[in-house]
């Protein structure tokens, strides 16, 4: 799925690895660095996680640092908060984003608020890793993208990498962050392509987006799995002499407003892409920011290419739901033909 542009930005040094391998390496290196870091979740031990992101870590760090928990998401997040208060830095895994609901109380009512509630005395240096999004044809509840709900909860940061290099650097930043960071892993990209990833630990700062692909006619704003979709649409647009700038937000909280506003001021046209439902999806926030800061630069209404306001369908209808390069290209053209 990745075109050449997907790897063009990455450094050439380092082993070529998948996102799963990059994440695994980041976890191992950080656990090595800081003994306060714990790993906890369902099947993260000998199984190595259902996607193998934690493979080999219990063998390396032992069962006092890698905790295969009972099957209870509220239990995982709630006890992780207590472990934070007790001086640890837990990295939790929720097996799929569709299973975060039992933990929402702990996440929203406590993790997001403890610093504020304790007037700064206590904090929650917690990472919540969750595979999110569609594209792998799994059973029900395994394809959801609920990032907007997280972004609408003050006190949580939400980071979403789009390639193996960023996955490693952003995860290390998330682990070192002193506040709760939700780390959404686009599961369809776990093994979709490889990229050179430097061996040594490095950070990609949270809150800084990037110009994934420079262009001048239209700005396409995306994150996570949709960066590849946007880029594929841009490839096709290029064949029709349309120059598309693709912005990868990398995190939605904090949001790098500057990077896409600057781009839209230049191109005058914008398309926002996400898999999550349309209404109150994160795209609505992007459009509002553009309205507030670059309205007079716009040459066409901002387009949104999103999932529908429906429940994520079963595998047989999944392709009809997911934003794809066709839909993005059509939206790009609408902004040009306006």
């Amino acid at each position: 799925m990745a075109s050449d542009a997907a790897t063009a930005l990455a450094p050439s040094s380092g082993e070529r690895m998948t996102m799963v391998q990059a994440l695994n390496q980041a976890l191992a290196q950080e656990m090595e660095r800081d003994p306060a870091i714990l790993l906890m979740g369902e099947d993260v031990g000998p199984d190595g996680g259902v996607f193998r992101v934690t493979a080999g870590l219990i063998e390396r760090f032992g069962d006092q640092r890698v905790l295969d928990t009972p099957l209870a998401e509220s239990g995982i997040i709630g006890t992780a908060i207590g472990l934070c208060i007790g001086g640890f830095r837990p990295i939790t895994e929720i097996q799929f984003m569709g299973f975060i609901y039992p933990a929402i109380n702990q996440l929203f009512a406590h993790a997001a608020r403890l610093r504020n509630r304790s007037r700064g005395r206590l904090s929650v240096p917690l990472v919540v890793r969750m595979p999110y999004g569609g594209g792998i044809r799994p059973p029900e509840h395994h394809s959801e993208s609920y990032e907007a709900m997280l972004a609408n909860t003050p006190g949580l940061k939400t980071v979403i990498p789009a390639d193996p290099y960023d996955a490693k650097g952003l995860l290390i930043s998330a682990i070192r962050d002193d506040d709760p960071v939700i780390f959404l892993e686009p599961k369809r990209l776990y093994r979709a392509f490889r990229q050179a990833v430097p061996e040594e630990p490095y950070t990609v700062p949270i809150g800084k987006g990037r110009v994934y692909r420079p262009g001048k006619d239209v700005t396409v704003i995306a994150y996570g799995s949709m960066v590849q979709v946007a880029n594929a649409a841009a490839d096709r647009a290029a064949k029709q002499e349309i120059s598309v700038e693709v912005i990868d937000l990398r995190s939605i909280v904090p949001l790098d407003v500057e990077i896409f506003i600057e781009s839209v001021r230049k191109t005058g046209r914008a398309v926002v892409v996400h898999e999550a439902p349309r209404t109150c999806g994160f795209g609505a926030e992007i459009v509002a920011q553009i309205n507030e800061r670059a309205l007079l630069n716009l040459l066409a209404p901002v387009e949104r290419v999103t999932g529908f306001d429906t429940i994520f369908p079963g595998a047989v209808l999944e392709d009809h739901y997911m934003p794809n390069p066709d839909r993005v290209l059509a939206a790009i053209k609408r902004t040009l033909e306006f």
Binding site: E42, D43, G45, P46, D47, G48, V50, D68, P70, L71, A72, E73, S74, G75, G98, F99, Y101, P102, R137, P138, P139, E140, H141, H142, R278, T279, F308, D309, T310, I311, P313, G314, A315, V316, L317, E318, H320, Y321, D326, R327, A330
Partner: protein, 359 residues
């Protein structure tokens, strides 16, 4: 005041047919020959449908599938006691019970394909669709059991879950509500030893799941879940208790998941082969077969005939599966609300324009 003993409880475990195929005559239920043979037949049916699903998955004709192999007795013994008025509230591994209650298996297979028409349970079968969010459905079973009680109906709601599910808060809330409101609910927990890669010993520090019922004010018991006769007797008595309004009940059926969690999992990564082999010797089907053969009620020819008959049914279900036309893409919208709001009508139009409605 001196320290006094406030309460105590005893957790019982029932076994009637032991792994070598010998029954305890005193505990033997009063079932005629036909019913005894029927229990074996329904287990063999379940296994045949299960093996076919594994096959279809390997050939890419269905998607992810979770096998029930090893749990046939735990499902067949219960199923024989179910009546049309009961409500079934399944989790994810109860295809045997559903098949036994008349769910056409092509629907189950299509569920594994990700075809949501499979979750439209045919009229006449009181069952909710399979529930993937672990333990969440148990609260519905508690609520249905409250409804049956409020309406004075002599029926039970049966809530299914696995051992892993008993760690979720929803499990505990369901038991507590059922206890408080005297719900006509049977909590039927198949403890198959594993929740994906996590063994039961890491799920709880308690010795049994059955004993948890006592904490919520009602009785629980264990049953050898690979002994179809014990499962039959325990669930018969539990359902009588529940249907007659005496309060909820919990059965923990001790069994074993012989296959990987699902076809997306590889159990050799985390569990010892010797453990699986030890449970193979406790196979629920072979022990019933041994018993019935010794009674002169079952022989190889009967088995061959049954397998041939069921295999033909399985093939017919596979044909029915493959004859199902693709659902229209607009199905994504058409069950969202009784009446579709304008914004969704607009999006539905967009889908039709983009996809020519799935064609």
């Amino acid at each position: 005041m001196p320290i006094i003993e406030v309460n105590h409880f005893t957790t019982r475990r029932l076994q009637i047919l032991d792994p070598s195929g010998v029954v305890d005559e005193q505990l033997m239920p009063d079932l005629g020959d036909e019913a005894l043979v029927g229990l074996l037949c329904s287990m063999l049916r379940m296994r045949t449908f299960d093996e076919k699903a594994l096959n279809l998955q390997r050939q890419g004709r269905i998607g992810t599938f979770g096998s029930l192999r090893g749990q046939e007795a735990a499902q067949a013994g219960l199923t024989l006691n179910l009546i049309d008025e009961d409500w079934l509230v399944p989790s994810i591994r109860e295809q045997g019970v559903l098949e036994g209650r008349g769910l056409p298996m092509h629907l189950y297979y299509s569920f594994c394909k990700g075809d949501e028409r499979a979750s439209q349970i045919p009229d006449g079968l009181n069952a909710t669709p399979q529930s993937i969010p672990i333990a969440s459905q148990l609260l519905h079973a508690a609520g249905l059991g409250m409804a049956l009680k409020l309406r004075n109906e002599e029926a039970a709601a049966v809530g299914f879950a696995g051992d892993g599910a008993t760690s979720e808060g929803d499990f505990h809330e369901a038991l507590n509500f059922a206890g408080v409101f005297g719900a006509q609910t049977l909590f039927y927990i198949q403890n198959n030893g594993w929740a994906i890669s996590v063994p039961f010993s890491q799920q709880t520090a308690a010795e049994t799941i059955a004993q948890k019922a006592f904490a919520y004010g009602f009785e629980g018991m264990q049953v050898d879940g690979n002994d179809v006769l014990a499962v039959y007797v325990a669930s018969r008595d539990a359902l009588d208790h529940v249907r007659s309004g005496k309060g909820p009940y919990l059965i923990e059926a001790l069994t074993y998941r012989m296959e990987s969690h699902t076809t997306a999992d590889d159990h050799t990564r985390y569990r010892p082969a010797a453990e699986v082999e030890a449970w193979r010797a406790r196979d629920p089907i072979s022990r019933m077969r041994t018993f019935l053969s010794r009674q002169g009620l079952w022989d190889e020819q009967q088995e061959a005939e049954l397998v041939a008959k069921v295999s033909a049914e399985v093939e017919a279900e596979v044909e029915a599966l493959e004859a199902m036309p693709r659902p229209p893409a607009t199905d994504i919208f058409d069950y969202m609300f009784a009446e579709l709001p304008a914004t969704l009508i607009e999006q539905r139009q967009q889908l039709i324009a983009e996809s020519r409605n799935g064609k």
